[in-house]
C-alpha cells in the first residue's frame, strides 16, 4: 500500500521553541560542529526554525517558521544526482541514499530551500556520547550529503509492525521526531493519499501554502499561514 507522506506545519501554533531541532538531532544522529565551523555555515540542522520580525520597532513581533526538507514531488535535487543517491520512492519520499552518495553536492546547489547538508568532516562524538546514537539510523561519514528523511526509520518500523499485525498503518501512527516532540502540536504528519487523514484535511485549509511555490517544486511540507498575516493581529 503506497502512501504519500506529507507534513503540515501550522505557523499560528509555532512558538519557535526549537524542540523539533533538538529532537531531530537526537533521533537522526546529526553531527555537531564547533563554533568556528558553525560560523562558517557548516552547522547541520535537518530542521531549523527561522525567525522573522514583523512590524516597526518598538511594535515588533517575532514570527517563526520551521524549515526542513520540503520533500518536493518535483524535486530539483533528484534528476541532477549522477548516482541516484537522491531519488523518489513510491511512498513519495524524496529519499537520500547515503551509500550511493559520492558527494558531488549538485543536489544541494539545485535545492532552492538549501535544505541539504553536507558532511564536511567526519563527525566526532566525545566518548561516551556515542552511546546515545540512534542504532536505527546510520552515522554518516565525511563526503556525504544528508537531509531530512521524514524519519524514514520510523516509517519503516511502523510499516513492519503493521504488517506483523496484519493491518494498515493508521493515521497518526507514524510520527517523525519533530512532530512527536512539538509541544504545541504545530506539526502534523500523515498520508496525503488518504482523504480522511488529518494531514489531508489540514492541507485543504484555506490557509495552506507552500514555500517558494512559484518554483513549481510541489512540496509536501505544507504551511498553514498565520491568521494574523491576514490582518487580524
Amino acid at each position: 500500500m503506497a502512501h504519500r507522506w506529507a507534513m503540515v506545519i501550522d505557523l499560528d501554533r509555532c512558538t519557535g521553541c526549537e524542540t523539533c531541532m533538538a529532537a531531530c538531532h537526537a533521533e537522526n544522529n546529526i553531527a555537531t560542529v564547533d563554533a568556528k565551523q558553525a560560523a562558517r555555515g557548516r552547522a547541520m540542522h535537518w530542521i531549523h526554525v527561522e525567525r522573522y520580525w514583523e512590524g516597526e520597532f518598538p511594535n515588533v513581533r517575532a514570527r517563526f517558521q520551521p524549515v526542513l526538507c520540503q520533500q518536493c514531488d518535483a524535486a530539483p535535487c533528484e534528476p541532477v544526482c549522477p548516482t541516484y543517491a537522491a531519488y523518489h520512492n513510491e511512498d513519495g519520499l524524496n529519499a537520500q541514499v547515503y551509500n550511493r552518495c559520492i558527494g558531488t553536492r549538485y543536489c544541494a546547489n539545485a535545492c532552492p530551500y538549501t535544505a541539504r547538508y553536507f558532511n564536511w568532516w567526519n563527525p566526532v562524538w566525545d566518548k561516551p556520547l556515542q552511546l546515545q546514537l540512534n542504532p536505527d539510523v546510520s552515522v554518516r561519514e565525511a563526503g556525504i550529503m544528508e537531509k531530512c528523511t521524514f524519519c524514514n526509520q520510523r516509517i519503516v518500523a511502523t510499516e513492519i509492525q503493521a504488517k506483523a499485525e496484519n493491518r494498515e498503518v493508521q493515521d497518526g501512527e507514524v510520527k517523525p521526531a519533530c512532530v512527536q516532540s512539538c509541544p504545541t502540536t504545530a506539526m502534523v504528519f500523515g498520508d496525503l493519499d488518504d482523504p480522511n487523514s488529518q494531514v489531508s484535511r489540514l492541507a485543504r485549509s484555506m490557509r495552506a501554502t507552500t514555500l517558494l511555490s512559484e518554483l513549481g517544486t510541489n512540496p509536501k511540507v505544507i504551511y498553514l499561514e498565520r491568521e494574523s498575516s491576514h490582518g487580524n493581529d
Partner: protein, 174 residues
C-alpha cells in the same frame, strides 16, 4: 621478402622511375602490386598512384556512428529498466537525456571507427621487419620492387639508376 629499390632526391625523377617500371612491368616480370613507393610527405601529384587510392573509411564512419548511437539508446533504455525507479507517471526512459547520451556515443562511434579503420587499412601498427629505408624521412623518395624476379633485378636496378636514383639498394628480410 627481398626487394630492390632506389632513393630519389625529387618527385620528378621518382615519377619517371615509377612510369618506367610500370611500362616495363611485364617484361621485368614485376608482379601486380609489387612496385613500392615511400615518401616523407604525401605525394598527391599525378603519376604516384594517389588517384587510384580508395578506402571504405567514409562509409565505415557513419556505420560506426549508427552503431554508437544505437549503443547509446540501448544503454540508456536498458539501464533504466534494470532498476525501474518511480517517475511519477513520466516515461521511464527520459527522451532528452537519452538523446544527449545517444548523441555523444554516436560521435564516439564515428571517431572510434575512423581510428580503427585507419589503423587496420593502413596496416598499423607493424613492428616486424619489412622493406624500409631511414633515408625516406630525410626527404628521399623510395621507389622499388618487392620480390623481383631474380634474373631481372639487375635490370630493374639499372632502370632506377638511369632515372636518377641517388642510390640503388637491396633489401632482404632474412
Amino acid at each position: 621478402m627481398n626487394a630492390i629499390y632506389g632513393l630519389f632526391p625529387d618527385t620528378n625523377s621518382a615519377r619517371r622511375a615509377l612510369a618506367a617500371l610500370r611500362e616495363e612491368s611485364s617484361r621485368l616480370r614485376i608482379k601486380p602490386g609489387a612496385i613500392v613507393l615511400m615518401s616523407s610527405e604525401p605525394l598527391e601529384e599525378e603519376g604516384f598512384g594517389w588517384e587510384k587510392q580508395r578506402t571504405y573509411m567514409p562509409w565505415l564512419t557513419p556505420l560506426g556512428a549508427l552503431l554508437g548511437g544505437a549503443a547509446g539508446y540501448a544503454l540508456a533504455a536498458f539501464t533504466q529498466r534494470v532498476y525501474p525507479l518511480p517517475t511519477g507517471g513520466m516515461p521511464l526512459i527520459a527522451m532528452y537525456p537519452s538523446g544527449i547520451i545517444m548523441y555523444e556515443l554516436t560521435m564516439f562511434g564515428a571517431i572510434f571507427t575512423t581510428i580503427v579503420t585507419l589503423l587496420i587499412s593502413a596496416r598499423l601498427p607493424f613492428y616486424g621487419k619489412r622493406l624500409y629505408d631511414p633515408e625516406v624521412t630525410n626527404g628521399k623518395i623510395l621507389v622499388g620492387v618487392a620480390d623481383p624476379d631474380r634474373e631481372c633485378s639487375g635490370e630493374i636496378g639499372q632502370h632506377l639508376q638511369s632515372e636518377g636514383a641517388e642510390q640503388v639498394r637491396e633489401f632482404s628480410s632474412e
